[in-house]
């Protein structure tokens, strides 16, 4: 795997070069679903969340933003900010609809999926971000620390606290 390809898949810093369309496409394929889940944890509607993710990628593609040093970190920040702006601007005043599925359980356990969604929404943002990056973007804690610009210990703590809370909420489903 080339240096650039690996950096796009993970959180490694890229040398300050312009992202090509192919780079952006790789980022979208690799992190699109996780970013959609992340956006869904802020806004009620999956359609709105998709629009938010697309908006971020369009800006990246059109070069309207400064070249991010760590593309993955930038994407998470941008999705978060765009989602918060959308919410603040009354784009979606409705409360988060917990019945809308944006996570699907492989075994078809919809209740567990909805419970996990609800638990994720209740997590503090920084903990939620670490969980999504780790579980669905497939990043290591070191990569997340590098992307977030904080120490590995901080990220590990956030992750540990988040797992504890999630485990507690999903206990009834995990055994079943």
């Amino acid at each position: 795997m080339s240096y650039k390809r690996k950096a796009l898949a993970t959180g490694d810093p890229l040398e300050p070069k312009k992202l090509t369309g192919e780079d952006v496409r790789l980022l979208y394929d690799r992190h699109g679903p996780a970013l959609l889940a992340y956006a869904c944890s802020f806004v009620a509607d999956t359609g709105i969340a998709e629009d938010i993710v697309h908006q971020v990628f369009v800006k990246l593609l059109q070069g309207e933003t400064a070249m991010p040093e760590v593309p993955v970190a930038y994407l998470y920040r941008a999705v978060r900010n765009t989602a918060l702006n959308a919410r603040r601007n009354g784009f979606r005043d409705a409360p988060l609809d917990h019945a809308t599925s944006w996570l699907v359980h492989r075994g078809g356990n919809r209740e567990a999926a909805l419970a996990l969604q609800a638990a994720l929404i209740e997590l503090p943002e920084e903990q939620r971000e670490v969980v999504v990056m780790r579980i669905w973007s497939g990043m290591t804690l070191e990569e997340i620390a590098s992307a977030a610009g904080v120490s590995l210990n901080t990220i590990a703590s956030r992750y540990r606290y988040a797992l504890e809370k999630l485990r507690e909420r999903l206990k009834p489903y995990e055994k079943g």
Binding site: G21, R25, G32, P33, L36, F57, Q62, W102, V131
Partner: protein
């Protein structure tokens, strides 16, 4: 990370986020140089087409003076046509020749009032 964490991570991975709908890659803007090239190509085609039509006037571009054969029996040349562009060019370059050409054309195209079967004579009989 404990083995319980690993096991719980594994459980969490059983949940998959939805895939976002296809990204509209076609909305990408073309590079600046390509857009300029495309604009130049369009301008060239338009200018070329205009020039071609200006130098090769089609049949439709000609002004036709057609007289009605039933009313004007003495018409000598039916469907004789006068092209605007050559006449205009002639008017600019040689007005005298234009006058001569128009006079000749009028004799050929317009009804003859001097002949045996002139229009005036036909009207007078009616």
């Amino acid at each position: 990370m404990t083995w319980q964490d690993d096991r719980f991570e594994h459980y969490l991975r059983e949940f998959q986020p939805l895939k976002p709908r296809g990204f509209p890659w076609q909305t990408r803007r073309l590079p600046e140089w390509l857009r300029r090239l495309a604009a130049a190509a369009v301008v060239t085609v338009v200018l070329g087409t205009s020039l071609w039509f200006a130098t090769h006037p089609s049949e439709r571009g000609k002004t036709e003076i057609v007289t009605n054969g039933a009313l004007v029996p003495e018409q000598k040349a039916t469907g004789a046509s006068l092209s605007l562009l050559p006449l205009t060019q002639l008017a600019v370059s040689d007005p005298v020749r234009l006058d001569a050409q128009l006079a000749a054309a009028s004799r050929r195209v317009l009804p003859d009032f001097r002949g045996e079967r002139s229009t005036l004579r036909v009207l007078a009989k009616e």
